[in-house]
Symmetry: C2
Subunit: 404 residues, 2 copies
């Protein structure tokens, strides 16, 4: 293990830790099972030929599977292609061009979204591309700061929605509390067509013995008299095959009808053979949970390696902190103001590519240059051990430079 | 075989011929081969793990494959998901919201598309959904009536594009002539950002010994000084698996960069495992052509059954005609004015569901109610024999009713 930044640099690593990608060993878990399922043919349980056109909202058993995973009625779930990001983009693009049910096109006026920060860079990229103004709001360990959120949405009718990653939030690891979910579902909003874009990306991605959950947001919205407020997005990309899984959209019957109408123009439907393979492979929620235990066995040591290195090197260093997430794909490292970019540059100079500093903020702009997103899933455990030391040593060098 | 409409009705068929779907026997052709390819793993030729994220524009060998199929440089092809319709929608939606390279968003003004009729209903649905005005232009056997097209685009800057199915056009079977392609590529347009939406859906779908081709439209556009005019769309949906193949987009380098920029926000990329299976299964253009010979062997008798029945029953009937296509998926049947809808209704009353009359026209409105789209691919050959008689008998009954 390197003991100084210069020793780390001499290792001349060639490692890209910039994205939250699963490791090959994780992909092996589902691959073996998918290959078995591949021999089970192309007929759905009702005899439907999954090779042909049809079922634009997804294979019925894939929708049922999604409904059981998301704990919503099957009629309120779409089983789609290989990317929940596409569903989020399309939902937002449809809202911009056509409006949501009973609303006018969002693009007719100024449109803003609340963006809890730090957050997911791809959410922010969608807003930037669609010309949606982004208003950062602070994250707490329980979700977004609801006093700030409520005050903003009550007054400003241009605020049409908020990005939410309710469980093991990307990248802070926050778990939305029941109170936060209740307040999001029930808060008065100046915009009648306000939407929660609920990206339940890490619903089954536990790193501890506790399978954390968040309250059912559709139920919470119904109970609060806002049945159409939430759009839930999820996928199995980090359960089975990163680029070849199933994505789901769940919402109210009215929003589903809207989605069906809009998406029917665009698509002939998803790859139902892949959906069939997934249903046959995973069977049900228990099947997913079993598989995720095996992911956890691979991932937990990597997260522990990072936090152990940080504890060893960074304990007591002023203005430095990090989270030890109970799930998800990321660790957030907070460094002294003004040193995040420099830390990333020092790591890069030693051959370790980190997520660009600021990526977790709208337009890539971390106003205090304090936040680093660490993505320990893809490299091997040995590499993570070295990389974690390298990150800590790069930060210490940056601090040293700044105080010289 | 039924001899009268009443006999046909007594058969009480339960057959849906409304869409151009491949038959199960066609899907079997690729299925066996895909299953073999399934055992060949997940590694691309350069060792890339196709199960993980990456290659948003498609697996390099899948792009090469597409380039060889479409006869364009590999850097100008995207290998995407399971639907070329999605690529067409997204390209048009991107143009509406953001404009094409160096243009302003189309949605800022009145936007119109030329729609050769009869044409493909899903093209027209996209225009309708996006608020694009549709201007029908007549089809000839050589493609759209270019005198009409040239006169319109020269004067009207709101006309931003035209839908083209250059080979075995849906549903007329027209084959664009070299002159038509040249005129489309070179015609002066009032809109500087005019685009050819070139849906090369039936490029390999021959029904005769002659493998018809149309000139390379990208080359034609470059030669005419309009390098960015054409966007080519194609897919293997009717080559391998209808809902699980590969779609391709090909265009100029500048348009490709535009596509990459816009689509990178939306997607994490296509299912590369499926692309790998396809490349391993089909190998190259010769592999596709071999497979298409086997499709042809299944399809040709069905098309022959329809035209034989029409010849038997409808020869000499005033104002009735049909085409005998050299490729593609459809036969157009022209009936006396005002009788298309009635013919469809009579067939439906006998249990035979045809494509709705008017479907091949913008907004489903055939001004003379004359055109029927016949889709003989999906039913068995025996069913096609009966259905073709049934269509002819339904039409004769409609004529009989009208002249009583």
């Amino acid at each position: 293990m390197p003991k100084t930044y210069d020793e780390f640099k001499q290792l001349d690593m060639r490692l890209d830790m910039s994205r939250g990608k699963p490791a090959p060993e994780q992909l092996d878990l589902a691959w073996a099972l998918l290959n078995e399922a591949g021999s089970t043919g192309f007929l759905a349980r009702d005899g439907f030929d999954c090779r042909n056109y049809g079922h634009a909202l997804g294979l019925p058993e894939a929708r049922e599977f999604g409904a059981s995973l998301l704990d919503v009625p099957v009629g309120q779930v779409v089983a789609a292609g290989n990317s929940s990001l596409e569903l989020m983009y399309d939902a937002l693009a449809f809202a911009m061009s056509f409006g949501v049910p009973a609303g006018e096109p969002w693009s007719r006026g100024d449109v803003a979204f609340l963006c809890p920060v730090p957050g997911y860079d791809r959410h922010f990229s969608i807003c930037a591309a669609l010309g949606i103004r982004m208003i950062p709001v602070p994250m707490t360990d329980d979700g977004p700061d609801m006093d700030v959120v409520e005050a903003l949405v009550r007054e400003d009718a241009s605020i049409k929605g908020i990005w939410c990653v309710p469980l093991y939030s990307n990248p802070s690891g926050a778990i939305y509390s029941a109170e936060v979910v209740h307040r999001l579902a029930s808060m008065p909003t100046a915009a009648a067509d306000f939407r929660l874009f609920w990206d339940d990306a890490y619903r089954f991605h536990h790193l501890t013995d506790t399978r954390h959950t968040t309250p059912n947001v559709l139920d919470a919205c119904v109970a609060a008299g806002h049945p159409d407020r939430a759009l839930i997005f999820a996928s199995l990309s980090k359960v089975t095959i990163a680029s070849g899984a199933i994505a789901f959209l769940a919402s109210s019957p009215r929003n589903l009808a809207w989605w069906q109408q809009r998406s029917a123009v665009r698509t002939i439907g998803p790859d139902k053979l892949n959906q069939l393979r997934h249903v046959k492979l995973l069977r049900d929620r228990a099947g997913v949970e079993q598989l995720m235990e095996r992911h956890r066995a691979l991932l937990r040591p990597k997260f522990d390696a990072v936090t152990a290195a940080f504890r060893e090197r960074l304990t007591g260093v002023p203005d430095v902190s990090w989270n030890e997430p109970a799930g998800g794909y990321f660790i957030s490292l907070y460094v002294p103001a003004g040193l995040a970019k420099r830390t990333v540059a020092l790591a890069a100079a030693a051959g370790l590519v980190l997520t660009p500093a600021g990526a977790a903020f709208p337009h890539g702009d971390d106003p205090h240059d304090r936040h680093l997103r660490i993505a320990p899933t893809f490299p091997s455990l040995d590499e993570v051990h070295v990389a974690a030391q390298g990150i800590a040593l790069s930060l210490l060098r940056a601090i040293d430079e700044a105080t010289r």
